[in-house]
Symmetry: C2
Subunit: 216 residues, 2 copies
């Protein structure tokens, strides 16, 4: 797969293409042109064609794109044809929400363990996974094949936990803690900073209000 030097902007859009194609697939649509898709997704047709051509010529002149084929191919690019084992560190509401989210497993992300420091949670079962205590984690990682760790714990423990995970060979961290993790460059960090998302919403809300005022 020739995916060197693909820009982050393209990668950011790829899952959205995948989502729209999945919907078309469910509706039984067989083929779609970049123009039709562009209207649905409210992006330019040019951008769709450019984006897809980063990975190969998935379309056909005069016909457009075959929906089932393109859906599968984008799935492959995103690695959704492989199974990934994930553990969740922090069994609070957020950790439990992730553990309960059935859809992830359909995309190949299988939760194989949930950990917390709180002894009250020990043994509680979430979709077949009993919550384990953090001190069991090192041994767990030695005996299980795990690629992804979701960090859904408070900020103050996140940095040292991440260090530990990296030492134990975790290759990707899905980070929900409100800090930037410092990890070796071969470890992937995908951040979900909810408070930053909320602040952007707040910015736009207030901007609208002030612009509206000025017009009056």
């Amino acid at each position: 797969m020739d995916d060197k030097g693909i820009s982050k902007a393209v990668i950011r859009r790829l899952p959205r293409y995948y989502r729209y194609l999945g919907e078309l697939l469910e509706e039984g649509v067989e083929r779609i042109s970049s123009n039709e898709l562009s209207e649905k997704m409210r992006v330019t047709a040019s951008q769709i064609r450019q984006d897809l051509n980063n990975f190969g010529g998935f379309g056909q002149q005069g016909y457009g794109y075959n929906v089932p084929y393109l859906y599968t191919e984008i799935g492959k690019i995103l690695g959704l044809d492989k199974t990934h084992h994930m553990i969740i560190i922090g069994a609070g509401n957020l950790g439990q929400a992730l553990a309960n989210y059935v859809q992830f497993e359909k995309r190949g992300f299988k939760v194989v363990g949930i950990f917390d420091v709180n002894p009250v949670l020990k043994g509680i079962s979430i979709r077949g996974n009993e919550i384990r205590m953090m001190d069991e984690l090192p041994e767990f990682l030695e005996t299980h094949d795990v690629q992804i760790a979701a960090l859904t714990l408070p900020k103050n423990n996140a940095a040292e936990t991440a260090d530990m995970l990296v030492k134990q060979g975790i290759k990707a961290i899905w980070n929900f803690a409100h800090l930037d993790l410092d990890v070796p460059e071969d470890v992937i960090v995908e951040n979900v900073h909810l408070s930053e998302s909320l602040m952007r919403l707040s910015y736009n809300l207030n901007r609208y209000v002030s612009e509206h005022k000025e017009k009056k």
Copy 2:
């Protein structure tokens, strides 16, 4: 405030500046230069100065930036000096996680109501808010001042719920459902698409593996 035509890229970075300045503030740091901050945040000093200058000259030549002042100013730009009332639609794990997150209230986001369709949840109290049933929502919105609605419910009900919220005068939607909402242009939508985030992680994980293989 002259905040017209500020690019999205700048807005995306603003909460991160705010976070770093908050940390510096806690450490008691009084002043910082764009250069020092650039090393901490791993962005260019030039970008920091450009970004901040979109909103005004917050620094001083020969001195740098006053940390408490800059922190406060960015807070104002983000609208964090105002209180926003938020309701949460969907009291599952994710909705409860948001309702429980104390930090939001410190930033001026006050949860004033939590709603769900599931009668089993009715009356359960989360940080002082009893879960209400969805049919109470219209009256609630008429008698309360609410700006933000967090949508933490399944995809299939999200679109019609959003329509209803907009009709009731909600001006901003924090959307966790896996679809793009179709709302009037004066309504702000901030999306948190967790499955797309996980797919980006997956992409990067697999990209690393394949590049690594090629090198061998």
